[in-house]
């Protein structure tokens, strides 16, 4: 392409985009994407307020009734004698258990890697980076085989412990401490007679609130949404977290699995309600945490 060509293209594009028609095109494109991202969520919320019949015949974007919502609610929580309640409880147990261990393990580790010197520091850091970028499903089957040897399969620990290994959290903590806490501050505390442990608890930890919240956010969201790990580790329905429990509900929905029609069958709006409930905690966290998401995912790129 010659320079003249490029120039001509540019002028033409300019008139396309800054003119009236350009704005219209951009507006239409944006509108299409807004609909694409928003329709499924809006529809899902409305679907929980309809009866199975109403879902199919009524306008998809009009709400149903409170009584239908209550009926769906009853059907969902009546499913297999309240299985859904225990699934949500399991999810909370796993996600919070992993969260606590993650924080206890990764905050001191990230601190030590950022602000202290020790042998293997670099090795540990490189290992952390590499494992952090491996998708967390890649090691699930090997971990299953390993835990199978020690007989932990089926116990809550078989999901909590692997989820508590959270290199991303360590990396975030490392970045935070190496950029936000000056080494001089620690040196001053040491001069004043603090032991290494006191330096950490009295100087570093009080400054760590933002990073604790950030690591907690990522750990919780990831654990709550984890499907493959619990799916593999927990053979019995009693131990399912809600994400895996959804598969049981799906299998009992005649609309998707015709062989399941029967006393325990689940109607579509009930399944929709289950979907909403399965993401509710994460959705609530997400509503307030857009800033966190950006801060976390751009942490790697701030060092130019």
């Amino acid at each position: 392409m010659t320079t003249v060509d490029i120039g001509r293209h540019a002028t033409r594009r300019r008139s396309d985009l800054s003119g009236w028609s350009g704005r219209t095109i951009v507006g239409v494109v944006i509108a299409i994407f807004v609909l694409f991202f928003a329709i499924p969520i809006v529809w899902l919320l409305l679907a929980t307020t309809k009866s199975a019949h109403g879902l199919i015949v009524s306008d998809p974007f009009l709400p149903g009734s409170i009584s239908d919502f209550a009926a769906n609610w009853d059907q969902l929580f009546g499913f297999q004698d309240g299985a859904v309640t225990s699934w949500v409880g399991n999810s909370a147990l796993y996600a919070l258990g992993a969260l606590v261990i993650t924080l206890i393990a990764s905050i001191p580790a990230g601190y030590a890697m950022a602000l202290t010197e020790f042998k293997f520091r670099r090795l540990l850091l490189v290992l952390t980076l590499i494992v952090m970028l491996i998708p967390n499903t890649a090691l699930v089957l090997p971990i299953f085989l390993e835990l199978n040897v020690v007989g932990l399969i089926g116990s809550p620990l078989s999901v909590i412990l692997p989820m508590a290994f959270f290199p991303f959290g360590v990396y975030l903590t490392y970045i935070y401490f190496s950029t936000s806490v000056p080494r001089d501050l620690l040196a001053a505390a040491r001069l004043d007679g603090c032991s290494e442990f006191q330096v950490f608890t009295r100087v570093a930890l009080p400054l760590a609130a933002p990073i604790i919240a950030l690591v907690g956010f990522f750990s919780f969201v990831q654990s709550w949404n984890n499907f493959f790990l619990p799916f593999v580790m927990l053979p019995s329905s009693d131990g399912y977290p809600v994400q895996v429990g959804l598969t049981s509900l799906l299998a009992s929905t005649p609309a998707f699995n015709p062989s399941s029609a029967g006393a325990q069958s689940v109607q579509l709006p009930t399944l929709a309600l289950a979907t909403v409930i399965s993401v509710l905690p994460v959705l609530i966290v997400f509503l307030f945490a857009q800033r966190f998401l950006v801060a976390g995912m751009t942490a790697g790129g701030t060092k130019e």
Binding site: T11, E117, L129, T137, V279, F286, G301
Partner: protein, 281 residues
């Protein structure tokens, strides 16, 4: 004392990072009763009639997804960034990002509804394309784009927000200077903003590529919901799962896991050493 700080993390890293990888390595090169197997497990799984189709499915899905992700995320981020009305730009980012809360099984379930013409909010659109039943929508040849749409719906918003942040970091002086020199909005986007976003786009591409090879929950749920019209060995991870739990062949499962792990490790190692994002490491 430093060792005290890193002790628990190191134990977890050994137990759930290093040991499983070594154990998988051991299993992949041994037979069921512990004898050395050479590369037999690998030739067995690669020769399996289900292996190549699974590779093909995952590769096609990745192709659709990555192209859509790279092109549309960059495009939407540039547009959202160009909108000068504050509340509008902020609301758009929020709408794009919110579906990220529905990960895994929940988003697949939601899309089952959307793709079922009897209940779908966009049933008109589905009928327009000639689909009148769920089974018609999810014939196997449609699945790579369908999974790509689900993954895009869930994951794109987070990346748009991140690219937007990166665009905000570009110095105003640079943009202003270009504008004074007569550059149009489009020229600024193509010649200044996109090149400066390249690092982030490659980060997104590699992370998504590594994650995409692990495809599992989408075909697994769809296989359940379709009465096995979608086979339960559609993706590589599903095939590994079948080896482990249907055939009780942990060695074969380990061989597949190892192949996937090597791909993921290679991608992340390339990125850590050459990506420039982790320079201080």
């Amino acid at each position: 004392m430093s060792y005290g700080f890193i002790a628990l993390y190191t134990v977890l890293a050994v137990a759930f990072g290093i040991l499983p990888a070594i154990y998988a390595l051991f299993l992949a090169f041994t037979t069921g009763d512990g004898g050395f197997a050479g590369i037999d497990n690998f030739t067995k799984v690669i020769g399996d009639f289900r292996f190549l189709p699974a590779v093909e499915h995952v590769a096609l899905y990745l192709l659709f997804w990555l192209v859509a992700l790279v092109v549309l995320v960059a495009f939407l981020a540039l547009i959202v960034h160009a909108i000068s009305v504050r509340w509008l730009s902020r609301s758009l980012r929020f709408i794009f990002y919110l579906p990220g809360a529905l990960a895994g099984a929940s988003s697949v379930l939601l899309w089952l509804f959307v793709l079922d013409p009897t209940a779908s909010p966009v049933s008109g659109l589905l009928h327009l394309f000639g689909f009148s039943s769920f089974v018609q929508v999810i014939v196997p040849t449609h699945l790579p784009p369908v999974f790509a749409i689900i993954a895009f719906w869930t994951g794109a918003g987070g990346w748009i927000v991140i690219m937007y942040g990166a665009l905000n970091n570009i110095s105003h002086d640079v943009i202003e200077a270009a504008r004074i020199d007569g550059a149009t909005t489009v020229q600024i986007a193509l010649r200044i903003q996109l090149p400066l976003l390249r690092k982030w786009i490659s980060y997104m591409g590699i992370m998504s590529l590594a994650a995409g090879t692990q495809l599992f929950v989408e075909p697994q749920l769809l296989s359940q919901a379709s009465n096995a019209i979608v086979p339960n060995d559609y993706s590589l991870n599903q095939l590994a799962y079948q080896y482990a739990f249907q055939q009780n062949d942990f060695n074969g499962a380990a061989a597949i896991s190892l192949l996937l792990l090597v791909i993921a490790l290679a991608l992340s190692a390339v990125f850590v050493t050459r990506g420039g994002l982790f320079e201080r490491g």
